[in-house]
Point group: D2
Chain length 353, copies 4
């Protein structure tokens, strides 16, 4: 067994305790310190993980040479400054979604990490659930064929956030997952965003994102804070098979349907009528793969350690965080144009190497 | 009991047999004749309803003074000519969706019927299901409060139609229902349509429609021919309650949730921060009204008879068909502009009296 | 193509019209006559299948040498006399469940058919559904391994029948299915029946049947007329896999779970403690086979024709009807003894050849 | 606020940590000590609740005059001796299900507690879930009318226990709930138990319990360790309404159906035929009450404190534990008689005051 890595958790609010618990339970990591401006909050988190040092000073934490890495769960608007400070101190970083509050700042973070040879990881936690890992594996193995469409719904009676709209609150989950499972990541050139604020809260509480993908395919996301029923479902249609992920059905989260529409290959260049004659339907079996019961954050901490040790990009690297951020920013642009398609900024961060 | 009305069913293809069966079973109607250019097809339908006269000549049927009304189930591109001929012959008309293939033609049909004092009814069959009738009643009674959003999903592994895309095939159902349950009908000024044709069939197989409603509300429709699972669900959120219609759950089609977000009234004019302080959440009971078991087409034929006898517009009148058509046409316009919002033509048919 | 067989449908009440429709639609059969004491009722059925001769006289029908076979859907108490008359007239017979009202009479029917070399088929319609045919096939192929338990639930808010209790009304479905899918048929030596009549209707409205099977296995049936929710579900556990049939879930009627408990083979003769050490759990994939969409009665009429032509027993032969009847009769005996186990009469009809 | 009570948790195995966590979090209690023969295990539990004293000596704990009450989560066979010792030391007691391993021993415990004026509570945790509390309230208020039947299913792929069969492992949950919601508690005079052990584990892995209730009603329980799907459902039918509790559907755990069968009152003494004429069916609305989100054990600890302070029996008192135990013992008797009904011992503990 190699030596354990030392991690500091920065931010002891909503998400920090989960990070602390998982780093504490990991055989790869030693949880060295919990840092929060509110030292009492940090102490409460510390108490629940058996008591680790706490600190109210980020500078102090970053100055400690024993610390290898920092896990950041502070508000989004602070991500840039905290991450840049951590990178400057030579620490590897994992940071909660969204990567930053603007693409430009996110880009600077990614570039800096690369230049310094440090891991900058986006804590896209959902990507490390057994279900999403399996989806990625199935698509990579070609089991679904070419992707035709992705439709993601994430609706619930949710807290109306004081600082962000429903797009920035919920869609990062969907976008990071889509980016994770699509080989090469999400590549939409434009985004159309439709939002509604019927309660006059000052921000969208209902949102739809339409994103054309390469090859005529389409990704679509529906996020909603006002739905009385909770739905978390993603359908991924492929030329060979179609997959449905119903995250709220623990007895059958993933279903792979051998059903679909086939077009005879030779007809692709011919007329519509010829084409119609060559359409056929498959109504085959359904298959629900067994999934291991493993907490996503435990997989995330393992990936973070592994990326550091192997000196490689994490599977949800800064570039993926940047692609998600670019789409959110384009969505904001589209909202400002009443939903007209808005170009995704690909001058930053689309270099997927 | 008043005298029965005589009806001719025109078109013996997919939908005509259902019309024939319901008119034949109605105590309000005598099914006088089944008309189709393909006389054998007409005869087959006739055999199944106990044998009624058949005809291959529309002219002959329309010339018969005993015929009071015509039910038309021919292809959409023929609706205009068949309906205009029927109106010219002084017949009341019910016509399958969509009303016509262009708003202009639909408008002419509506104007002609009005001028002649004849009933022109859109056979928006779904509107006559017990579930939709109940939804309309609940909204009209104010049980949901003001409408905040409508989200409709109608997806299935469906036949790829040779002549129409998924919008024109499936969305008329959603649009006619939304038009029916919203007091005053659907009033979107613009439509944004996003379609995808990843199989290169020459038409959209996946479609999304975003339609802003008055007061900051939003209606959204998702139609899809490529989904391996069948979903027919509509969520209607209101200020008081939210309703979910799951048409594939016969044990609980309608659920009315006393859950939602409340904003204290006084805060409406104040700042965002004051507003945030006045948000509260209701997590009340759920109620599933019992629904009568009644075939929709049976309700439709009764409404058609009643409108004729009472010399009034049908509940799904030509104007409603025209509003649906206007949105489909605007959707086509939006598709041509890569999904940018497209104005709905309200110079025709928005006169909802 | 061989010549069609001529069939008479006897009984035009609840089930007869379905028989008439399916025989009329079959390419194997000519529906020759519909027979009912109530000639008007017979005529109504005839009208719906394009008009076939009707008769109020069973004797007349049986005397017709052109009639090859008779399909009987009269009340259960008349089955014996009608079937015996049909067999005496040299007709092949299919008869609605239950085979007869007593085991003794059923036995005479089976013996007579055998002696005359005529097909006597039990119309256990459910056995011909695609789902049950698939279950039989999977078990026969060994896909489930040895059967450990069968649990069947068939509950609904049902009509309280004037003449039969809930056991005789609903359980024949479950029992005939269990008999059909178990290789060799159901072989319970005893039955325990628990009934309740809390509304004082004079008969059981709620019923449970517990039936030990060979090898320590168990079959159990729950039937209920008083349940507000409808459930039709059968779980069949095997040493290799377990199958769940949810007949009200058209999107996934059959699920085959590769989950279960394994005992290491060598431990079977050893002590409990050793055994405990050798228990392991499988948590494998789930598989939902695609099922053809085929009406059960259409499969039944084909099997009836095939059995007649091939001079073989039908898959649901008289003996299977007799086994079901024996269990119902034993259940009645158990009810009379407050649920104590009652022996199943196997002197009749257990000769499964 | 009154002074807090001091509690010792005895037993730090599977259930003890949950008790410790809830007593520690309660404003009514001070968790004084965690006691286990395995002091390391006790220490681990202590660590997770912020560090409380531990002890390996029950005698020491009971000798401490500061301890008001003891919560016992040791193996069932030790309940009698531990509880008797605690009562002898003047401590109030809550003890995990089952109350004891024999009715006789349970009876002695109940009598002793009464004689000493001490609270003896059965920790029937499920009874303190919001769903079960609501069911009890609805039945007590007469909302369901007279109870006609209770059908409880609790099946899953479960651990085959080394020391108990499926009846003693799972059925205490169902029985304690039924006892809790029925006014006056469960009153079955006999029990019929049917078990199966098809894997030859030496004990029943599948079990059914049929229990006649007063007035012709029936309770039935199905427990099963071999089911690949998890079901936890209870249907309670009443003369007015029927309730379904689906514990695995967090979005609608309780549904109250205004559906059922009505018999006209006057017909109750008349003939079957007259009765049939007076049957009618209600198909009314469904109602799903909102339930508070509250952990059951938190309610349990509050009830324990309240019973002690008010010097009253707990809602799940020793007598209820004894009734559950009596049924389990009768079930064992029935199993020994091949499922014949076995009398429930009501000489002990049926005194429900």
């Amino acid at each position: 067994m190699t030596e354990r890595l030392n991690v500091a958790v920065v931010g002891a609010g909503y998400w920090g305790p989960n990070l602390a618990r998982n780093f504490a339970a990991s055989s790869e990591w030693d949880l060295a310190v919990i840092c929060d401006l509110d030292i009492e909050r940090a102490q409460q988190v510390s108490d629940r993980v058996g008591g680790v040092p706490v600190s109210a000073s980020l500078d102090e934490v970053l100055a400690d040479p024993a610390i290898d890495a920092v896990a950041i769960a502070t508000p989004a608007r602070t991500h840039h400054s905290v991450v840049m400070a951590a990178l400057a101190a030579g620490k590897h970083v994992t940071v909660e979604k969204p990567l930053a509050d603007t693409v430009e700042r996110g880009h600077e973070m990614v570039e800096t990490a690369r230049a310094e040879g440090l891991v900058l990881m986006a804590d896209h936690t959902y990507c490390y659930t057994p279900a999403v890992l399996k989806i990625r594996e199935l698509i990579a193995a070609g089991d679904l064929g070419d992707i035709l469409f992705i439709d993601s719904v994430r609706i619930n009676l949710g807290l109306i956030q004081p600082d962000v709209d429903v797009f920035w609150d919920l869609a990062p989950h969907d976008l990071s997952i889509i980016d994770f499972v699509l080989p090469g990541g999400i590549d939409s050139a434009t985004v159309s965003a439709h939002g509604a604020d019927p309660l006059r809260t000052g921000k969208s509480c209902i949102g739809y994102l339409a994103m054309p993908l390469a090859g005529g395919a389409m990704a679509h996301v529906h996020v909603n804070w006002l739905s009385p029923t909770k739905i978390r479902q993603m359908v991924i249609g492929g030329t060979k098979r179609t997959l449905v992920w119903d995250d709220l059905n623990p007895q059958q989260r993933l279903s792979v349907y051998d059903r679909g529409v086939d077009l005879a290959e030779q007809s692709k260049a011919t007329t519509t009528d010829a084409r119609a004659a060559n359409i056929s339907y498959r109504l085959g079996d359904t298959w629900a793969p067994a999934l291991p019961e493993k907490e996503a954050l435990s997989n995330m901490t393992a990936e973070f350690a592994s990326a550091i040790r192997d000196r490689r990009e994490a599977r949800t690297d800064g570039a993926s965080g940047l692609r998600v951020l670019s789409i959110l920013e384009a969505a904001k642009g589209s909202l400002g144009r009443d939903g007209a398609p808005y170009p995704v900024d690909t001058t930053h961060g689309t270099d997927r190497t």
